[in-house]
Symmetry: C2
Subunit: 335 residues, 2 copies
């Protein structure tokens, strides 16, 4: 590998001067600079990032911890975050938990030794903060920027970028109410996910605000997974039991798709017999038939907010400890 030493000897200067030319912060004689640049060009020199990271005490990689990269919302987030980071000259390290919480702990233990620039947590788990906080604090003390996307951890001193789950869910319910589609069922993780609970809260509050009761039989708390099969099973079972409902608000587009499939398999028409609203708004929802009405989360905006954090590290203004991205109801065919 061609190193600074090689470049330096080729240009007839010391390694320090080569470094100075690259850094550009210290004055170097124009003639010397030209010689160095020529040598760099000639030898095809590229600074070794690992050595830089060691010397600087931290590298140029940001870890993104996702719940399930196969879900549209996380894939979209990963895409946009990577794009943002790339513009900042940073790399993205992907850790997909796949709904196994032990992996998170394992990662957080290893994290401080990886020389990361930052960690972006975006997992739907209700994390056991009592246990996690010391780990996170240790990481933060070692100069690693930690931030949370989707889940509000600002109370723990962690910069959080969240979407308005309560408002989004309420808007969806209001929309369904406006069409007279009652009763409305809810499906999602409630007990085991802070995000799911927020969406449930929005659903519940909106129902109550419209003078509607919350029927426990129409609240389907799935224990794990936000995937379509969970929605299918929940809706199938409800239909088999003969429960009556005219609409379903799902905590993810995947869940909504599964519910719709269950309805379709029983010969029910969407949205006339039952209407469906999902959460996410990323991916195939535009082209499914019926296309999916959904509470759209702006993953691009979330990614930009993530980018802002790292931009601010380089001298820009420090962003707020908590940033809320609005959720927007996108009305399509399914409701």
């Amino acid at each position: 590998m061609v190193s600074v030493v090689a470049v330096a000897s080729h240009a007839g200067v010391s390694p320090a001067t080569v470094s100075r030319v690259l850094a550009g912060r210290v004055p170097v004689a124009a003639e010397t600079r030209a010689r160095v640049l020529e040598a760099i060009e000639h030898l095809g020199y590229r600074p070794n990032e690992v050595a830089r990271s060691l010397r600087a005490g931290r590298g140029r990689a940001v870890a993104l911890v996702t719940g399930d990269i196969e879900q549209g919302i996380y894939a979209s987030l990963a895409k946009h975050v990577q794009s943002e980071l790339e513009a900042l000259g940073l790399d993205l390290l992907l850790f997909n938990l796949g709904h196994r919480e032990d992996r998170l702990r394992h990662f957080l233990e290893r994290a401080p030794s990886l020389g990361l620039r930052g960690i972006v947590l975006s997992s739907p788990h209700v994390m056991d903060m009592v246990e996690l906080t010391p780990v996170i604090r240790a990481a933060a003390e070692s100069g690693v920027e930690i931030l949370s996307v989707s889940q509000d951890l600002s109370a723990f001193g962690i910069t959080s970028i969240v979407h308005d789950d309560v408002g989004g869910a309420a808007a969806a319910v209001a929309h369904l109410m406006g069409q007279g589609r009652t009763p409305v069922a809810f499906v999602g993780r409630i007990e085991t996910s802070a995000i799911g609970r927020a969406r449930f809260n929005g659903y519940r509050d909106a129902l109550l605000a419209h003078g509607q009761p919350v029927d426990p039989a129409l609240v389907w708390d799935i224990s794990e997974g936000y995937r379509a099969d969970a929605g299918y099973h929940a809706a199938s079972e409800a239909l088999a039991r003969g429960l009556r409902f005219r609409a379903v608000l799902a905590a993810s587009d995947e869940l909504a798709l599964g519910c719709m499939a269950a309805a379709a398999d029983r010969g029910l028409a969407v949205p006339d017999d039952i209407a469906f609203v999902g959460f996410g708004g990323l991916g195939w929802g535009v082209f499914s038939r019926p296309s999916m009405t959904t509470v759209s989360l702006d993953s691009d905006a979330m990614a930009r907010a993530v980018g802002d954090i790292f931009r601010s590290q380089e001298g820009g203004p420090a962003p707020a400890n908590r940033r809320v991205i609005q959720a927007k109801l996108v009305v399509r065919q399914s409701a």
Copy 2:
């Protein structure tokens, strides 16, 4: 940060001994080992990965270069590859090209300086090999394992893990033939993607083998993107022009979904009026209605093959230069 020096002084030994205890390959007196382990535990020491990487000449990260992480097949691949790597103690660096080829070049320039263990290329672009080969060779010479997933680059000396696109497409066409659904249209990237072209070849060969003509008007070569909107537009236009076809083989599930939406919007029944077969078989296809018949690619098997490469680096048997993963037609409702 707590370093070997700190551990060494706490245990009353030299840094070298601490390193020896960690490596475990050199004999260390039992009593000394115990003291060192106690010190490690006491101080919460974790070896600095960056320093290790510098010293070793390469790190423990593998880069995955994807075409579009929002597409089911790539997301699934990323998930499984990350899982495999995690089991090997390796980290995944994600580079999403998002169909911008210049990003690939930029990445390959930077790659050698990142201290990567390997690079997994999985982008549908027909890469300009004339230009790329020197870069790839340079990376390979610096000890980085380079391999290609989906695209066969074994002719360029790059270990390739491919799926049987030709066979998969042929099986799909044969299935449609068996149902008497002719003529069959094809949609995908043909000119600008080696993978798309392979699928087209399978389609063409199967048609000819069944004594059917290949109608150029029913071959829709989309210039960019494998996403649903491209399929929607292609199919809409064909239907608007009054072209007659009874089935569509699409080079991705997303394209197929777009085509199906176009058909649905014209009041056509699936599969009775037109049948659809996609490619990929990952994600929502099971729960869309009609559910999607598709040529399923086993991303898990591909990821395991990737894992095998890196396992073989650690002394295992060297795997073949080219490995073919079978594609399997999964028949559901759409065809």
